[in-house]
């Protein structure tokens, strides 16, 4: 079989949705959180690369809604429903939220990894999307790739074996 798989890439503070057999991936997650939403029955998935927890942090007028957990996740959900996913079937897997540098200062912005993860979990709870698996925290960067056919999220860290959650 000559099955060429397309991998859709998601950049920083961006999101996208796909249908099987496409794959979706984002590279170099540090304190950012990669949120994968998927509908296994309809084989549809979406990925959002979240940079900051809350749009109330924004100090600009026209905010990029894909940047913040509270604005990006509802949009991702909407776009998935738009291409045929059923909201009640959508589940989530998340990865990221590392703390890349250990700061001694109590600067809040530097604890952004855990704050991102907390914000994502809270939004998903509010939207009633169950979180099936998560690989969050730590101090390593992650590259993640999701396959809607198997509903598995592949996670690669530097000098570590790939894991699937």
């Amino acid at each position: 079989m000559n099955d060429v798989q397309t991998i859709v890439k998601v950049g920083i503070a961006d999101l996208n949705v796909i249908k099987a057999p496409e794959l979706i991936r984002t590279a170099g997650l540090g304190s950012c959180v990669g949120v994968v939403l998927y509908d296994q029955t309809n084989q549809i998935a979406g990925l959002s690369h979240i940079l900051l927890p809350d749009s109330s942090l924004a100090k600009q007028e026209n905010i990029n809604k894909y940047k913040y957990a509270d604005t990006a996740i509802p949009l991702l959900l909407e776009q998935m429903v738009g291409i045929g996913a059923r909201k009640s079937l959508i589940k989530a897997k998340i990865a990221g939220g590392a703390q890349m540098f250990q700061f001694s200062s109590n600067s809040d912005i530097m604890r952004i990894g855990p704050r991102n993860s907390d914000a994502v979990l809270e939004i998903l709870k509010k939207l009633k999307v169950p979180v099936i698996a998560a690989d969050i925290g730590g101090s390593s960067g992650r590259t993640i790739e999701f396959d809607p056919r198997t509903s598995m999220l592949k996670i690669r860290k530097v000098n570590k074996e790939e894991i699937y959650i």
Binding site: L29, K59, K67, M100, F103
Partner: protein, 211 residues
Amino acid sequence: MNISQLTSVQKDVLREIGNIGAGNAATSMSKLLDKKIDMQVPSVNIVSYDEMMDLIGGPEELIVAVFFRIQGEAPGSVYLILSIEEAELLINQITGDQMISLISEEGPDELAVSVIQEAGNILTGSYLSALSDFTSINMQPSVPLLSMDMAGAILTAGLLEISQVTDFAIVIDTKISHTDSKRGIQGNFFLLPDPESFHKIFLALGVTDNE
């Protein structure tokens, strides 16, 4: 001010800042290695976050970075970025140990890590002190933080302040290198001033914001 639109005078000022900082760092590196060090003309890039990762080979590229957070009148972030091979070569030349490697199966080599951290500290420290002298702006660097990981994961830490204000970053990128052996070492300095710092930097150097 809108940082996605800089005048050519403003760009020149930022380029000059990169020049002075890296010039001083190149002198330090030359003393450290007792070798001739070359320096390229700095570039000032206004880039999206994704483009910034592409400047050093994409978000998944494995890099060694020494990161300083600058506090004081003009806050910002500074990175010294090396590839793993370049960092190992630098360690070889400082220690005279040809066999050293940064990462083995048992994890990072402690001696190698502390050598690269100290070298990064010296180089970035001299970069910053030149900057501070030139602009007469008080800059207090944090302790140096070393990380070996994917470029995307490391560099977003320096984007957090900027990202609350804009979707673009101004990267003042300077390369210093020595190439008298077959394999050269090339380090990139990335200076990422926080958005509110540009005004102070321009003011300190007598350039107005809006021309």
